[in-house]
């Protein structure tokens, strides 16, 4: 259209000097008038097109501004991971697994109130005969109560550690989640309750709440099935993993409390910690109530290609002696304390568009039963050996949210668990 206009205008311009000649040439004059009319038509059409485009663009802008929070209220998200593990000394235990497939559904009621949920399937198939599980990981309402405070209620993640609230596969290094934040902190750890949270302009994030807690009655003090036959079993019998309730017919006689603080006021640096404590109830009617407490400190420092993180977590359960003394020789006495710590470093060695290669190394020390009280002499150990795990490998990102992983893990105490891991992870 524009080209036509220019062409016609140029033609008319070249014909202007001949206007005087046209007066003596009726045919030429007629042609000039026709071209002039056509030029006017083209100008009119061009102006109409311009108006239509502007109207369309304005409609689209208005529609988009409405879509921000008004019409676009339902949101789907998800994440998942597939893992292949091959123990070096136990090749018969090599395994390929769709470890988890998670779908998240969120809904924005208005600019203050929203709903968040996540539903997880572990190990691909859930049935009475299969090892898979179907779980509700999150299901809560978040509401901006005051300009400075938001509150939440329902089933939500406990804000502890680095991994629990940021547990999607692209967010951590290694095919498997680290052992400290699965055995000692039972990621993904969620409870039911209410909480309040916010972030200050100075970079201090805070989160406090009351939730269901641990139920000591869930502890299996003398399990039939032997524990720790593979590395993945290290979490079996872990203190909090064994007793957390996840709002599944949870005993709510006692509520636990938590406080979490995270400081992000320096670019690239996160420093934080949390405390979770609550009454676990009684293991036997004649024993005292027991209290579970878990505290942790963590830091992460991201400086350009370098990503370093460290965490220490310590847990305790009170009044374990009187319970353990009732079960001499039991294979899984209740620990009085447990701990874990890790140090991890990763470095982006290559990046092109969305592709990114990040080698990493991580050393972990953990003990799910560092102190066992009430052990009858000759009937068992008063502590487990401290396991040390060394993991090294690389994450290769096809996209910031799609990652291929490869790593090797060695175990100091259970070196039969040494294994190669390969993984595919994604989140959206």
């Amino acid at each position: 259209m524009k080209k036509n206009l220019v062409s016609i205008a140029a033609l008319v311009a070249t014909m202007m000097p001949v206007a005087g000649i046209a007066e003596n040439n009726p045919a030429l004059e007629q042609k000039v008038q026709q071209l002039s009319r056509e030029l006017d038509d083209v100008k009119l059409q061009l102006n109409q097109l311009k108006s239509q485009n502007e109207a369309l663009a304005e409609q689209q802008e208005n529609a988009n501004s409405r879509a921000v929070g008004e019409n676009d209220n339902l949101h789907l998200s998800g994440y998942g991971e597939i893992a292949y593990t091959r123990p070096t000394h136990q090749k018969e235990n090599a395994k390929a697994d769709l470890a988890r497939a998670v779908i998240g559904v969120g809904y924005r009621f208005d600019d203050k109130t929203r709903f968040a949920s996540e539903f997880e399937i572990e190990h691909a198939v859930t049935s009475a005969e299969d090892s898979g599980e179907y779980e509700v990981e999150q299901f809560y309402i978040d509401h901006q109560l005051l300009p400075s405070i938001a509150i939440k209620g329902g089933l939500f993640l406990i804000p502890t550690g680095l991994l629990n609230t940021s547990h999607e596969p692209p967010n951590y290094y290694g095919t498997q989640r680290n052992f400290v934040e699965t055995v000692i902190i039972p990621s993904t750890w969620r409870e039911g309750g209410v909480g309040a949270h916010g972030t200050t302009d100075g970079g201090l994030g805070w989160d406090v709440g009351f939730t269901t807690g641990m139920n000591i009655a869930n502890w299996e003090i003398n399990p039939e099935v032997p524990r720790f036959t593979t590395a993945d079993d290290l979490g079996e019998g872990a203190p909090f993993g064994e007793t957390h309730q996840e709002l599944s017919n949870a005993n709510a006689q006692h509520f636990s409390q938590y406080v979490a603080l995270n400081y992000n006021g320096v670019a690239g640096l996160t420093v934080g910690g949390s405390v979770f404590t609550g009454n676990m109830g009684k293991f036997q009617p004649q024993t005292s109530d027991q209290r579970a407490t878990l505290w942790e400190l963590h830091t992460r420092w991201i400086q350009g290609p370098l990503d370093v993180s460290a965490l220490y977590a310590h847990g305790s359960i009170s009044n374990t002696e009187e319970v353990n003394q009732l079960y001499p020789g039991a294979s899984n006495l209740i620990p009085a304390s447990f701990f874990g710590a890790y140090l991890q470093a990763a470095y982006t060695v290559w990046q092109h568009d969305h592709y990114r290669l990040v080698p990493f190394a991580r050393v972990e020390r953990l003990n799910a039963a560092d102190d066992i009280k009430g052990v009858v002499e000759g009937e068992g150990d008063d502590k487990l050996p401290t396991e040390r795990v060394f993991t090294w490998g690389a994450n290769f990102y096809l996209h910031p949210q799609v990652v291929i992983k490869m790593d090797y893990q060695t175990f100091k105490e259970n070196n039969d668990f040494n294994r190669l891991n390969l993984g595919l992870g994604l989140a959206f």
Partner: protein, 167 residues
């Protein structure tokens, strides 16, 4: 423990929250940049070539036919929207001498990751520029806010590209 929790909540009251938080209205951002009388907005139409460039940066086409901007004395202001994880983040950028001069989170709508509004994080955007149309300059991430950080970086990149594309 309960007393400590209540004291902590009181201490933290003068703070900003997550989810649909308006840190600064877009009009106020314009007044802050240009004074009492901002210039009238102009428009850049997103032709095929420009949309292709934006798609490379954002991973998707920008959902408008044109983008408005404001310009005076070589400074341009861009107010853009980009989804972090679930809902759009509205951010404002001032570009001067082909570099980011100011970056600001105006409206944040996610339930987590709002640490990107912290001045210490946003200060990293000052000086970002393009080299061979790629974003040059370092922006360190925030734990638990990766998607929001990426959205801000992508919007800064888009603002610099758009600034180069206007007559």
């Amino acid at each position: 423990m309960l007393r400590f929790v209540v004291l902590l909540m009181v201490w933290c009251l003068p703070s900003l929250s997550v989810a649909d938080t308006v840190y600064q209205k877009p009009d106020d951002f314009l007044h802050e940049t240009f004074g009492a009388t901002p210039p009238a907005p102009q428009f850049i139409w997103l032709d095929t070539k420009l949309q292709q460039s934006l798609t490379q940066i954002l991973g998707h086409a920008y959902s408008q036919l044109r983008i408005r901007y404001w310009r005076i004395n070589g400074h341009t202001v861009w107010i853009l929207d980009e989804i972090g994880k679930e809902f759009p983040i509205t951010a404002g950028f001032v570009v001067a001498d082909d570099k980011i001069a100011v970056a600001r989170v105006l409206i944040y709508r996610e339930t987590r990751g709002d640490e990107i509004h912290i001045p210490a994080f946003l200060q990293q955007f000052v000086g970002l520029h393009l080299v061979d149309n790629k974003l040059e300059g370092r922006v360190d991430g925030i734990t638990g806010a990766t998607l929001s950080v990426n959205a801000m970086k992508n919007m800064a990149h888009a603002a610099l590209l758009l600034n180069r594309s206007i007559p």
